[in-house]
Amino acid sequence: MSAATSTVERERDELRADPVLIRPGTYAEVTDELLRAVLRPPRWMRPALIVTFLGTLYLFAAIAYTVTTGIGVWGNNIPIAWAFGITNFVWWIGIGHAGTFISAFLLLLEQKWRTSINRFAEAMTLFAVIQAGLFPLLHLGRPWFFYWLIPYPNTMAVWPQFRSALAWDVAAVFTYFTVSLLFWYLGLVPDLAAMRDRAPERWRRRLYAIFALGWHGSARAWQRWRIAYGLLGGIATPLVVSVHSIVSSDFAISQLPGWHSLVFPPYFVAGAIYSGFAMVVTLMVPARRLYRLEHVITPRHLDAMGKMMLVTGWIVTYSYAIEIWTAWFSGEPYEMYTYLKMRPAGPYAFVFWTVIVCNCITPQFLWSRRIRRSPVALWIAALFIQIGMWAERLMLIVTSLAQDFLPSSWGLYWPTFVDWSLLIGTIFFFLFLFLLFLRFVPFIPIAEIKELKHDLEEEEHAHG
């Protein structure tokens, strides 16, 4: 028996023991079951929508206040000219990384367990990027001139300055949002067609028909779809890596101790995926329970997610360690001050220790298979990681700015009511968009699940 066969066999055995799909029915049953969430929404949906909508209104009130009065209503100052706003931006865009990562990267690696959760994760990406996109706009002193960052022939004959990482951000965030949207939508088209063909009322069929773009599922269309989808996945994978690398450049291209660091791009990407997976778990665990989808999102999925968090958690932990070590090894007094004094023992030490506890200690529990497979335990771990990753960004931004080169200019930052409102408001807005998605769109890719079922059965037959 060759090694290759044994690997395949082992994989198959593993799949059987730990399935990614439990007892699927017929294609029609699978379809109906997955469409049920949309066609017959659960009773909690309406109140949940109302609550999150009110929270969204609150966000827009906070935005209106900020824009009309000035960002002085935030706690920012000189030296800490960036604080919650950019922290939230980096956090949200980091969360937005898991979706595309799961969809694209795992698609390329042909990971079967990805199917059940990819749509979910992609939608999460889009909505997280929307939240993220709010902050670069809002944090501008004069947001009404945001379009000056875009090269267009204006009457001033002045152009953007492309050495700035903020100009890169515009391109990166816009591209990331657009490509994620296209990728998500392309995957969604066949399912919208299924909705069109299965919805009971004519108006609803018509509505879905408009969004299904006339999808008819011919073999030729499917081929193009497969190629295009794979292509987008292939393109999106380096894109994911590039986006957070560019976001990290907002800090890394500066010369501030604590920002000026070559390790930032990979470190940020790992952190982004880390927080993104945590967000997927945060949303998936309740959705799985509420929609009774335990046989589609199986313990195997939870287990895989837990492992991903463990791996990325270790990458992040390693990054922290290497940063501190580099600072010490460099002998550079400013770097040493920031990493060895300011962060662990300065006025914001509690942020640093929150980061260590949430991001480095929490994932160690995921070594345990039992915890990885326990939805509740995993969910709690994910929450800790979310908080930890948010605190990490706050630590990077605020502690580095608070005490830099000249002690005379050192200062402290404390968030205001508006700062908190914007953070909490975006969480509501995100949940609102997400609930809309659950309400109106098949959130588990039906066609792909059916394909998966077919593949699994085929394998079963071949080896059964």
Partner: protein, 986 residues
């Protein structure tokens, strides 16, 4: 594009509405009324439009808004010499406690916009201090009182004189008529007062300022038998000992002394020499910060230090044995004092001992003896009569007025310019006694504590609105000429006194001219006098009016008598009491500037505290009391107490609490009302003894608006603030190589330009007085942000004075460093701006383009010097229209949401360039900070010109770039701070 907002140029009279503003002698109340009328417009119309504009622009319709139509309002008659768009300079003077400082005032179509020192004036030498710089804002203060009021309701000048004319003193030769004036040196005022005394012989004329140098006068009387003032020649002194004298930070000759002092600190090469300064003081002052050796002792122990110093100098022993307690307090410092004495003795005739104004007369007298003994008298210090009228006379004491008021003998009280109800020790009780006058007239700028108690309030004209004259510390007369008609119908002291002198119809202009003629006319034909008058106005000084020094004879036994007499009756020590040291505040003086936002927001020199004063304590004393910075304490002296926040100052004397005067205002200073604690409440009447107070922690906390909270250098001295001793500078082995060769990725490419602007700042010269900070604020329309803004670290100063503590943690030396945009050639701020809003000019400026800025603030994050400032709100949004008249029309008023920072006064550079291009350039351009700097610590110029001073300094031995190891290639370079410590004390 959609950026049309009111700026420096729209609301004011300069460009769009220069009606008759240029003619300063014309009344312009209608125009001002229009300006003031806009204040009361309850509909925030502009505000609304701005927000609408924002909303429209946000909707992506930025290009759709058209520029609004503006008006152009030309003159009806163009005044002679006025060219709209061009500034003119006028020479005038300002006074403080009666002493004049010569000024040059910039005027844009009749609107004063900037104040500079007059280089020809002996007290200015071209420099100016914080008060002079900030007085511009005082002119446009909207809360100034207006016209004439009787019990707060408007009345008329005629009515006032009708009431006064009916008084009984008119028939009784002035009996019951009392005048309380600010100390004055004005020849015209003196002439008027003489006339009043002639006409009303029984009237009483008194002078009051809480900060008059009474002890100086008295000390001279003890030593020389007559009232004299010392004049110092610091340029001749190799060794200077200050006994609690803040001669660099206060006093009528402070600007001159600072220059003279700094000129002797300027070592360019190892062969240069420098002076040595010893300072003995209780609180930390900028003079102490400039010292080579500083001894912290309680204010009441300075006498002991002086006595011990005298003893160590080997002065002939006074008759009889000195009581042991005379020098007892100084004994722990005997070694230090002995070393100082030896240094002084080694520099006979080239040394100087200076006593502080607040020290008792005995210290002054003893200092005179020491200076005479050291052969300094007549060399480094000369004695001359005071320019102040009746200096040292009883008319400078308030006691008589208090008694007379108490006895009901005052029928009419005329108070001119002195807010006596606030600015006098509360124990004197004038605050309660004033209403006992039959009627009272108060000439004041504000509806303050005194105005509240007086029958009539007459709006006082600002010096920039007044005709007058005044003498400098050395007696040189300056004519005070107005640059603008009174904005608030104000009147001068001369206007108010003239009717008493029987000259009701004579304007102050006539009085000043008349006085000038009668003085200057002695034996000269009229046209020549007229020419002299023009010359005096043009130059800002009247030639040959200085009061020459006198030869003096010292009465040593009298001095020793008084000193011993004082020692025999020491104050009984109160257990648990602390010595209260109250000095004029470096920002609000005695409270008279408490309504000036520039001064209120000016960080106090050592503490960096704004918008309040604080009870300063040494760390040991604070520990003893169990308090820390920000804790509130109650200071109690007898029955009166005040509450103040604690500020712990390292280097302050133990068991001493410092509380500056001028805070805790109750009325008439809207901006400062209730801020800080009123030290006058704790002061005791006439005693020269520091009062003792009890201190109790209240448990409350106060948020202190401080602009700098960290003063440690964390071993970064080499990078940030280089300092060395003279010996180190001279030792080639010890001399450090300041600029190491750095690896650079990019090659510097300065653009092609006739000029390459650069700056050198000499840290050996800088005293940290803060004049540059206010000058910058005035020149560049820098807004104030208020105490809350400062508390949030949002102060807007483009130029700040960084203060670092060097040396022993409990008694550190303070090193100061003006920090402003370094105009880096490899500017880190520039490459991170996504919209090209900050870029580099061909002549080496780091340009900040407000109208292009979208406010990402990345530039500030990447600025290692953190000198960029952000408009978190629209700081000009609620600015009264009259206040906006203070704006420099050559500088953009910044909108909310944009970054700003030092521009090297680019408006001045461009003006110079245009002039140079047209072949009419005069002197090379100066930045505002450079121009005002009393010590010439800031040098600006063209670095391409190898002969320029800035080139020479930048290439000198002491030059270094702050944080230059980051590769920023700053265009500002500092010259390392050099101290000259006594090797014996090192």
């Amino acid at each position: 594009m959609a950026d049309h907002r009111p700026s420096s140029r729209t609301p004011n009279v300069a460009s769009s509405a220069p009606t008759d503003a240029g003619d300063v002698r014309r009344a312009r109340s209608e125009q001002l009324a229009a300006a003031l009328g806009a204040l009361s417009d309850p509909v925030a119309r502009r505000d609304f439009l701005t927000r609408m504009g924002a909303a429209i622009a946000l909707a992506g319709l930025g290009g759709c808004t058209r520029a609004p139509r503006e008006e152009i309002v030309p003159y009806v008659h163009t005044p002679v010499g006025v060219t709209p768009g061009k500034a003119r300079m006028y020479a005038t003077a300002s006074t403080l406690d009666g002493y004049a400082t010569g000024l040059l005032v910039e005027s844009h179509v009749g609107r004063p916009t900037k104040i500079e020192g007059n280089p020809l004036h002996p007290a200015s030498l071209g420099a100016s201090g914080v008060f002079e710089q900030a007085s511009l804002l005082g002119l446009y203060e909207p809360s100034r009182t207006r016209g004439i009021k009787e019990r707060r309701s408007p009345t008329s000048w005629t009515h006032l004189w009708h009431v006064l004319g009916a008084s009984r003193w008119t028939k009784e030769g002035g009996a019951g008529l009392w005048f309380l004036l600010e100390p004055t040196s004005s020849p015209t005022a003196l002439a008027l007062l003489d006339r009043i005394r002639e006409r009303l012989p029984r009237a009483t004329i008194l002078f009051h300022s809480p900060t008059s140098p009474r002890h100086v006068w008295e000390g001279a009387r003890i030593a020389f038998g007559r009232v004299l003032e010392p004049r110092y020649s610091l340029e001749r002194a190799d060794v200077i000992v200050s006994l609690d004298a803040d001669f660099l930070g206060s006093g009528p000759a402070m600007l001159r002394l600072a220059r003279e002092f700094a000129d002797r600190r300027d070592v360019q090469g190892p062969n240069d020499t420098m002076n040595r300064l010893y300072v003995v003081e209780p609180l930390y002052t900028i003079t102490g910060a400039s010292a080579d050796h500083r001894l912290r002792v309680r204010a009441c122990d300075v006498l002991a230090v002086a006595a011990l110093l005298a003893k160590e100098l080997g002065l002939p022993k006074p008759p009889g044995a000195a009581p042991p307690n005379l020098t007892e307090a100084a004994v722990p410092h005997e070694k230090w004092i002995a070393a100082v004495a030896r240094d002084l003795l080694a520099h006979r005739g080239r040394s100087l001992v200076i006593a502080g104004d607040a020290q008792p007369p005995e210290v002054h007298a003893l200092v005179h003896v020491m200076n005479a003994y050291l052969g300094n008298l007549g060399v480094t210090v000369t004695m001359a009569p005071s320019p102040i009228a009746e200096a040292g006379e009883p008319s400078h004491e308030l006691g008589r007025l208090a008694d007379a008021l108490g006895a009901g003998e005052v029928d009419t009280l005329v108070i001119c310019g002195t807010n006596v109800a606030y600015a006098s020790p509360t124990e004197r009780g004038l605050g309660t006694l004033l209403p006992r006058a039959g009627k009272s007239v108060y000439l004041g700028m504000f509806e303050d504590e005194t105005a509240e108690l007086c029958t009539f309030t007459v709006a006082q004209a600002h010096p920039l609105e007044s005709w007058g004259d005044a003498r400098a510390f050395d007696g040189t007369v300056s004519i005070i000429q107005p640059l603008i008609s009174p904005l608030f119908e104000g009147r001068t002291e001369l206007d108010l006194l003239a009717p008493f002198a029987g000259r009701p119809e004579t304007s102050s202009w006539d009085l000043v001219r008349e006085r000038f003629r009668s003085d200057a006319a002695r034996g000269r034909p009229a046209p020549e006098v007229e020419r002299a008058w023009r010359e005096a106005l043009k130059r800002g000084i009247v030639e040959d009016t200085a009061i020459p020094p006198v030869t003096v004879t010292l009465d040593v036994p009298a001095v020793f008598d008084r000193v011993l007499g004082r020692a025999k009756s020491p104050p009984p020590p109160t257990p648990g009491a602390f010595e209260l040291v109250s000095r004029p505040d470096p920002r609000v003086h005695d409270g008279r500037y408490a309504n000036n936002a520039w001064l209120l927001e000016l960080p106090a020199p050592i503490t960096k505290l704004t918008w309040t004063n604080a009870a300063t304590l040494s760390p040991a004393t604070a520990a003893k009391l169990g308090v820390a910075t920000g804790d509130e304490v109650e200071l109690r002296s007898g029955v009166r107490s005040v509450r103040a926040p604690v500020f712990v100052v390292r280097g302050q004397a133990d068991d001493t609490v410092g509380l500056t005067l001028g805070w805790g205002r109750r009325r008439g200073a809207d901006l400062a009302r209730g801020r800080g604690a009123d030290a006058f409440a704790l002061l005791t009447g006439p005693s020269s003894q520091s009062p003792s107070v009890e201190i109790r922690k209240t448990g409350a906390k106060r948020d202190l608006p401080i602009t700098q909270t960290h003063h440690e250098l964390h071993g970064r001295d080499e990078d940030i603030l280089q300092h060395a001793t003279l010996a180190e500078l001279r030792d080639p082995g010890a001399r450090r190589h300041h600029d190491k060769k750095r690896l650079a990725l990019y090659r510097k490419e300065p653009g092609p330009s006739r000029w390459q602007w650069a700056m050198a700042i000499d840290l050996s010269r800088c005293t940290g007085c803060g004049a540059c900070v206010v000058a910058c604020q005035a020149e560049n329309n820098v807004p104030t942000v208020g105490p809350d803004g400062v508390y949030l670290s949002r102060e807007m100063h483009w130029l700040r004075i960084d203060t670092y503590a060097v040396g022993a943690p409990d008694d550190p030396q303070v090193a100061v460093q003006p920090m402003l945009c370094q105009h880096c050639e490899m500017a880190p701020c520039e490459y991170v701006c996504p919209v090209n809003a900050t870029v580099h000019s061909h002549d080496g400026l780091n340009e900040m383009v407000y109208n292009r800025c979208v406010g990402t603030r990345f530039c500030s994050n990447n600025c290692p010097y953190k000198v960029r400032r952000f408009n978190w709100f629209d700081y000009h949004e609620h600015e009264p229209e009259v206040r906006s008249l203070a704006h420099n029309p050559d500088v953009t008023v910044r909108q909310r949401g944009v970054m700003e920072k030092c521009t090297f006064c680019v408006q001045r550079l461009r003006e110079f360039e245009i002039a140079a291009d047209q072949g009419r350039a005069k002197a090379p351009p100066q930045t505002a900070c450079q121009q005002t700097c009393p010590t010439r610590a800031i040098v600006f110029g063209d670095i391409q010109d190898e002969g320029s001073l800035v080139s020479r300094l930048q290439n000198g031995d002491r030059a270094y770039g702050a944080l230059a190891n980051l590769g920023t290639e700053p265009r500002v370079r500092y010259l390392a701070r050099i101290r000259n410590p006594n090797p014996e004390l090192a």
